[in-house]
């Protein structure tokens, strides 16, 4: 998987891909070139996962009843 595709992954997809990469590497029947490519991808994925967790800020919204019984979602103000 190339770098730009990795960057577009969500956290859970990155994590799932990371697990896949490790499993492939552990199976051990890979060529040198493929191993190194997978390893580099794994390191990139791991860094990305860590960064995403570090940078994440919990988003909180609140539902309010709008006109005609529809539901609106607005930012929640913590007081």
């Amino acid at each position: 998987m190339d770098a730009s595709r990795i960057e577009s992954l969500s956290f859970e997809d990155s994590y799932a891909r990371l697990e896949q990469v490790i499993q492939r590497l552990e199976e051990g029947d890979l060529g040198l070139e493929e191993s190194i490519a997978l390893y580099e991808e794994g390191v990139k994925l791991a860094e990305q996962c860590g960064r995403m967790l570090d940078d994440a800020e919990l988003r909180v919204t609140q539902l309010v009843s709008g006109l005609e019984d529809q539901v609106d979602e607005v930012p929640f103000e913590e007081g």
């Binding site: 956290f11 994590y15 990371l18 590497l25 190194i36 967790l53 988003r59 919204t61 609140q62």
Partner: protein
């Protein structure tokens, strides 16, 4: 013509207004002000005064009260604390150790009892309470009974079946939370989510969580999340409280709304020991709101640690693999060296040299053997050379004419001419006498 009814109404309003002004003193709009001449009481004085009112009341000094036992607890000191309640109100009760030791049964949650004692004021807490000295059980309380009936009915209907329970998503993105926006429960939930998994998006669907509006409010709040859609998991929560505070979570309508929710539901209502109908219906029952929050998301800190560990393992693995290849390569190189054609050529040349050397020595060996055999023959030949005998004084006698060697006297005759060979020449002779031996 003035309207009599209207006049009367205006008059009445005016009168009411005046009365209020008189009672509150001048300046309805003015704030009440404090000045030095006013008598000020301490909190204790007020409480003590109220206590004298209670204690002076005959009715309160000796009474029987009927109600449902709630929040019963027995302190390590042996004193018992609980509440008596009915549909309309609640009465705080204390039973001292000496009285509670005489009890024939320990009152439990939901027991309908008649208790005897007096009502007085607990000064430190500023509360009035019922000091109980005797308790008689009357049966099981209506509230508790209603709870049990509903629980049994929904259970029979299969609403609590394990098979109905849906698994919670591993990676929830949008988490619906049904609770009061101002309650401690919501703050606790946000704190837990922030530390464990801040990648999530919380959608609060606010509702009152106690009082008459709570059941329908909770039902609507759950439905609103469903209407909004795109919710991965729902937390229904409320902080701790008395069983009455949690009553809305024992409401059948709320239970059915939770059961019907499209997203899986985790409940966190009250404390560890509180079980509500909502808990039974939920896909996951957590003991508290914080625990519910922790149950619906993975722990990011642990994940981060795992990721670090994984990368270390990967690095080790790949390095090991590369070292393995390097070793393999070195072996191949050695093998390749063995098959170098120049090396083969040199070897052939060496073998050839070897052959030549071996051939040469073999030939020489043969030659010397032949030479030795030849020498032996010559020696033997030499030994047989008759002339050698002549040297020792022997002579060879031949008939001069025929050249026949005369080895016997019988072959000779007188007058015969002979040739006699000696070692350094020959002589001519004539036979004069023949004498064959005896």
């Amino acid at each position: 013509m003035p309207n009599l009814f209207f006049d009367t109404l205006v008059d009445a309003t005016w009168f009411l207004h005046q009365t209020i002004i008189k009672k509150r003193g001048p300046g309805l709009q003015a704030e009440l002000c404090y000045n030095d001449r006013m008598e000020v009481k301490s909190v204790t004085q007020v409480t003590q005064y109220i206590k004298t009112l209670f204690d002076g009341d005959e009715e309160l000094g000796d009474l029987w009260v009927e109600g449902e036992v709630s929040s019963f607890s027995r302190a390590s000191s042996g004193h018992c604390y609980f509440s008596l309640k009915d549909i309309g109100s609640e009465l705080r009760c204390v039973m001292w150790r000496t009285q509670s030791q005489r009890l024939l049964f320990l009152p439990g949650q939901g027991d309908w009892v008649t208790a005897h004692g007096y009502v007085s004021v607990y000064e430190r807490g500023g509360v009035y309470q019922f000091y109980v000295d005797a308790v008689h059980r009357r049966g099981v309380g209506a509230l508790w009974q209603a709870f049990q009936e509903l629980r049994d009915r929904l259970q029979a209907e299969g609403l609590f079946d394990e098979a109905r329970k849906r698994p919670l998503p591993e990676w929830p993105r949008r988490i619906g939370v049904v609770t009061s926006p101002t309650g401690a429960a919501f703050r606790d939930i946000l704190n837990v989510l922030r530390t464990r998994y801040a990648l999530a998006h919380v959608v609060l669907s606010p509702s009152p969580v106690q009082g008459v509006l709570a059941p329908l409010g909770l039902v609507r709040a759950v439905q609103r999340l469903d209407e909004l859609g795109d919710i991965d998991v729902v937390i229904v929560a409320r902080g701790g409280g008395s069983p009455e505070d949690l009553a809305a979570f024992n409401d059948e309508r709320v239970a059915r709304a939770v059961a019907g929710c499209r997203a899986p539901v985790a409940s966190g209502v009250g404390h560890e020991t509180d079980f509500t109908i909502t808990d039974f219906v939920a896909d996951l029952r957590a003991p508290t709101p914080s625990a519910a929050a922790a149950a619906v998301v993975p722990d990011a800190r642990r994940l981060l640690a795992q990721i670090g560990e994984t990368v270390r393992r990967l690095t080790l693995l790949v390095n090991e693999r590369i070292a393995g290849w390097r070793e393999l390569l070195a072996r191949e190189e050695r093998l390749l060296g063995l098959h170098d054609p120049r090396r083969a050529l040199a070897e052939q040349r060496q073998r050839l040299d070897d052959l030549v050397r071996r051939a040469t020595s073999a030939v020489q060996h043969h030659l010397s053997l032949a030479r030795m055999r030849l020498d032996g023959c010559q020696a033997r030949l030499e030994a047989l050379n008759p002339r050698l005998v002549l040297g020792r004084g022997y002579a060879v006698v031949q008939d001069k004419l025929s050249g026949t060697i005369i080895k016997s006297a019988s072959r000779a005759w007188p007058g015969q001419e002979l040739r006699i060979d000696v070692h350094d020449g020959h002589l001519g002779a004539k036979v004069t006498e023949v004498d064959p031996g005896p």
